[in-house]
Amino acid sequence: MPRPALGEFEQVVLLAILRLGDTAYAPAILDEILECTGSEASPGSMYVTLDRLEAKGLIRSRLADATAQRSGRARRYVSVTAHGVRQLRATRASLLALWRGLEGILEPC
């Protein structure tokens, strides 16, 4: 199992991408995060995080056709790579190991 190397916001973005499937692109990811967590993510952080995740090989992107609505600029759809999924699994396992035994304290009564 690879050592987890994901920051908290990176996990959030990767999970949102997985949830959105083929329709994941930046504005949709922001909406998904808002819907699931109830808090709005900073758009600037999100774009920079996407750049970083792609540089780490955790996501890949493809360009859709350009549309007039977007001043001729295409949407950039993203998907999580196999390496990204492995990283998420490793992170989840690490967190679960930390949670284990703390249910009495942390789970709501």
């Binding site: 930046a26 504005p27 600037g44 774009y47 920079v48 609505q69 977007r70 950039r76």
Partner: protein, 876 residues
Amino acid sequence: MLAHSPYGRAAGGDLDEGFDQLAATSALRATFWYWRRALSIAMHYLPSLLASTADHLVHDGAYAARALRRTPLFTIVATVILALGIGANTAVLGLIDDMYFRKLPVPQPERIVAIYAGDTRNRGRAGTLRDESISLHTFAELRTRIRGVDTLAMYAVHSLPTGDPLSGDETWSALVSGNYFHVLGVAPERGRFIGDDDEQPEGAHPVVVISDYLWREKFAGDEHVIGRQIPIGQVTFTVIGVAPRGFTGLHPEGRTILWMPYTMANALAPRGTASHAPATGSQDTFFGTVFGRLSANATLAQVQASADGAAQDLTANDLTANRHLAFYVRVRDRLTTAELSGNALSMFALAWIMIALLHLVACSNVASLMLARSAARRRELGVRMCLGASRMRILMQSFIEAWLLAILGAGGGLAVGLVFSKLLARMAFLSASNPHLDLRVIAIVALVVGATVVQFGMLPAFDASRTDPLSVLRGGPGRARGVRRDRSEMVVLGQVAVSMTLVANAAVFVALARRQATTSPGYDAAHLAVASVSLRDGLVSPSDQHAAYADALTRVAAVPGVRAATGAVGAPLFNTHWFGAVSTPTSVATSDGASQTSLQAVGPGYFATLGAPLVRGREFTIRDRLPPTAPRDAFDVVVVNESLARRLWPNDDPIGKQISVPGSSSAIVVGIVRDIHDVSTIAAVPRAYVPLLETRFQSFDVVVRTTGPASISVETIRAALQASGELQRPAVRTMSFIQAGAMSTSRAAALGVSICGGLALFLTVVGLYGIVTMWAAQRRAEIGIRLALGATSGNVHWLLLSGVGKLLCTGAALGLFCAFGIVQIERGQIGPIISLDAAAVGISLLVLVACAGAAAYLPSRRATRQHPAEVLRTSI
């Protein structure tokens, strides 16, 4: 801004999309949403943007360096052109900065104030501060009267006596009061400074302080310089100290300067202008500039008020001969000011404008070279843009190339600037241009380099950035739509205009130098020599002075080869005449300056010896002298020149008429002499000549007419005068030498502007040659087709040269307009002798058209000589 990030690039589209969706419900909310998100994205990308920009700069710098290395000839030529331009600009700007803006290297320079004497009638008039120096006598009176200044000091700067080991173009002596260095607050680098004890008794302290530069240059930095003996004049001085580095006192005259107590003035007897005027007493033979340091809490206004009171006091108590004495107090925290140096600042500024214009032409040529390079690299630029390079990146890269070239040029420019500074200092006898390198100089260089990059780098950079990648891929010229066919035309037009300005200006100065050389001065300068002598100390009675004068003439007359000799206080081109009110009983002396007439004391036979013809009447004889008991300067006869005769008696014969001159209200005009022109200004001023033997004098000049060349007799005349015990330090020069000296400034100016004009013309010719060659290359196929269809070589010439004609006409018109403006400024500064007349315009136009025509004709002729079949085979 986000171009370097794939997600950043997508962010623009995402924002547009979100904005459109929200705008359907609320435009305001959409706008707010858009800018909040845009700002958030921009803030997050800023660090990476900065990092990538720095990265790009390094890469582009390396790329530009490689590109420049690939074209070594271009790089060397451009660097040399830029180095010369940057160096020349830096030198002139540095000199202006040193003289007018840099503070004196003394503690609290802003508290140093100088007091100048002037005339109340001139108050507020330009040049007021150059009216008069202050006599020692007045200095002593001021010391007791001026309030608000700790103590007053005084100095006067003179050249060293001719023939002295230390004398030369650059060495000057400053005669100073004992407290001079104390008031300035500087400490000696070695030894000690002149103190109050060195002042008295008069002539008993032959001590000297030398400047650091003099110590290093003429004494080779000798560690044991203190105590060394230096012969100056006929006195041996002892070096007592070395001034700190960079300190040249308050005077811009020379960086190699030595200071000595003013009480050694008589021992040294430098020939200042004051010593030539009829003396009124020993206290009035030494003149200088008075300065002091403001007391704590004192203001300039308080000192001025105190000086005004002193002037009134001196006038009321008959302590000054000047009935209109005024004192002007000024802060003197720099070497000089525009107010003090008169038109020197304007002349420096004009010189700088000339050099800046020349630099502009040189930069234009570099810009042309870069434009040609960028045209040749159009395909490379197009491919790079197709591969994703943004226009900004291409623009930046071209700029970086320009900066690299400019930095190379700046390196050379600094070295050139130091050499130019030395030359300038030598030419202008100035201390200011001590070659040095400090933050101010670097700032000036940076300023010049910045301006240079803008001048030569901007146009090629924008041109390169507007490359059309699609056109390049299709094999086209690669110019974006809307870009003018040829920016080079604009560059060459500017060059033609600047060249015309400089060539016309050169024509003006060359014409002036020619006029000076060909104008008759009004006397026969050939076989004429002038010996300047001072009388021995203590020779104050008129009879003794006249006996010494007669002795000098007898000795000179006995020299073999001397045909005639006479005396005068001053000779033509000597600035030793004085001004006074001259009027007739019928005219009224006004105070507007019109009646302030030049006066000169001359001996018997002066005009005959000089070769200046008398129009009517007679000149002075040995009988024109007053008895020993008569009051000083009581002239009974006067000779006037034609200009004064015309002014005072426009319709009458002046001979026998009564005239009022200073010292005598009833002198009789006995002769009229032709005007004697000053060869430097080509002007004659109204002048009255008074008999030398009716004045007292401490020094005089012997005008000698020789039978052979005057230069042969110079040494024997000097030896004859030296043999007299009554005379001191005779200096003998030929009149041709004196005339050459008087014309040297305008000759140097003519040479300077001619070099500027010639260089500008050469660069323009190169530019024109280049542009016509380029036009011919661009239209090669068209020319081939035209020739194949039967066009004559004349048609082809017309095709190419009509464009040159337009450029020349427009450029020449613009240039003439600028030249007219510059000449007007010069005319205001130098005088009406400067004028842009039809001859100057015609000659400069002819020179420009001939040179430009030849430059354009050669490539045009080459185009007509190509074979149509060959052209069609290779071009289409």
